[in-house]
Amino acid sequence: METAWSKLQDLSPIDLGVIATNWPLFAKGLINTLLLVSLPLLLAAAIAIPLAVIRAQKLRVLNPIVFGYTYVFRGTPLLVQLYLLYYGAAQFELIRHSFLWPVLRGAWGCAFLSITLCSAAYLTEILRGAIEGVPKGEVEAAKALGLSGVRLFWLIVFPSAWRRSLPPLSNEVIFTLHGSVVASTITIIDILGAGRMLNNKYYLAAEGLLTAAVLYLALTFVITAVFRQLERKYLSHLKPARS
């Protein structure tokens, strides 16, 4: 075992030892990345459901406002949105004295907020598409059975819509994971932050960033595999029949 490891180290063009001894740094980065992805996504989903209903129902006054929100947040880079909060908010006396300041003062608050707002914009449009894609027959059948309003939505439309949005949702979760790296630009030690820290500490070119790349790749594969299972479970009724 000992000799196999040292042989591997001799063969490798990169310094494996320095990566192995710094595993706690990457563990910390991994936990922070998971926090930066999971919490904002849950919050974003909660925001996106009502907004998607507004968009799909084309509610007067509200629909253009929500469309404006999703267009701006999907049409500009997440990095710029984050910088606007992190560097920009302090410019205003008003914000520095408001209840928002404890959130906007630190890197974590800004990262959470901007990732949440950006993901919510994308999720809104995904869910809107899915709601509009629910077959008319399902809605008409439910109406014929006497369902309407909130009950019609929660019992019929939403369960059908979120299943249909699983494939784009899988992409969106991966995009959020990949987007979360912007947190490393404002001092947060996520996976990329850990990689850059390792490089700076030992004056290395590739080791830290390669480790980060491998970890992100592994997380992407896990997300893909999880969604494949979810799709198998929840979308099997939409698969073409086996001949």
Binding site: P77, Y83, L84, V181
Partner: protein
């Protein structure tokens, strides 16, 4: 304290860098996408799996990680090659070239799927019909396949361009003097970070809207053939 207006030309100079970066990356990405799509429908399984590996790996790693890896790792590789061959002593990679390479490679993988999907949605009868008329190879591609490929690829191509443009903002992290980088500098100098970063946000939004409108117009023009 310096005035906001004094720094505006300084920041706007960054717009040129951002647009140049976007356009150069798009050209590289389109070329890689066409090659990738061709490779994925190749007869040889080695070529197919090479293309498959390329798209899977690139799409699994965040843009910024790949960009920084190419910047710092690429510099190390360039230095090592220089040492080994003696061709150059200190060849410094500049952030613009690295950013074009990184963004081109990343979006090349998305373009691969775009063009592959577009190619697959051309009915087989089209190329069979072309062959029956005596066309083959290049002529068949130029007259029958290519026009339909472009038309089918337009919606996905538009999406790729829109996200490519936003990705260029990340190049500021490795020190490229694009609008984001310049706005940060101006914001620090004037103590008005919000003003300058907000200008950047508006510029990106403007670029998105302009591309959205322009490409939708182009898509309508290209769709003319279908309505016959």
């Amino acid at each position: 304290m310096a005035d906001t207006g004094d720094y505006l030309p300084f920041v706007l100079k960054g717009v040129y860098v951002t647009i140049a970066l976007s356009v150069c990356s798009l050209l590289l990405a389109t070329a890689l996408g066409l090659i990738g799509a061709w490779a994925k429908s190749s007869k040889f399984s080695a070529v197919r799996s090479a293309a498959e590996t390329y798209t899977t790996l690139v799409r699994g790693v965040p843009d910024l990680v790949l960009m920084l890896l190419l910047y710092y790792g690429g510099q190390a590789v360039v230095n090592r090659i220089g040492d080994a061959t003696g061709l150059w002593v200190r060849l410094q990679l500049d952030p613009f070239t690295v950013a074009v390479a990184a963004i081109g490679v990343i979006f090349g993988s998305y373009m691969t799927e775009t063009f592959r999907g577009a190619y697959l949605s051309i009915p087989r009868g089209q190329s069979e019909g072309g062959k029956a008329l005596g066309m083959n190879g290049w002529i068949l591609f130029k007259l029958v396949i290519w026009p339909q490929l472009m038309r089918n690829a337009m919606p996905s191509f538009t999406n790729n361009w829109l996200s490519l443009m936003k990705t260029t903002a990340l190049a500021s992290v490795m020190g490229l003097e694009d609008i984001v980088n310049k706005a940060n500098a101006a914001g620090r100098a004037t103590h008005q970070p919000f003003t300058f970063i907000f200008i950047v946000l508006i510029i990106y939004l403007g670029l998105t809207i302009a591309s959205d409108v322009g490409l939708r117009f182009l898509a309508r023009r290209l769709r003319v053939a279908e309505t016959v």
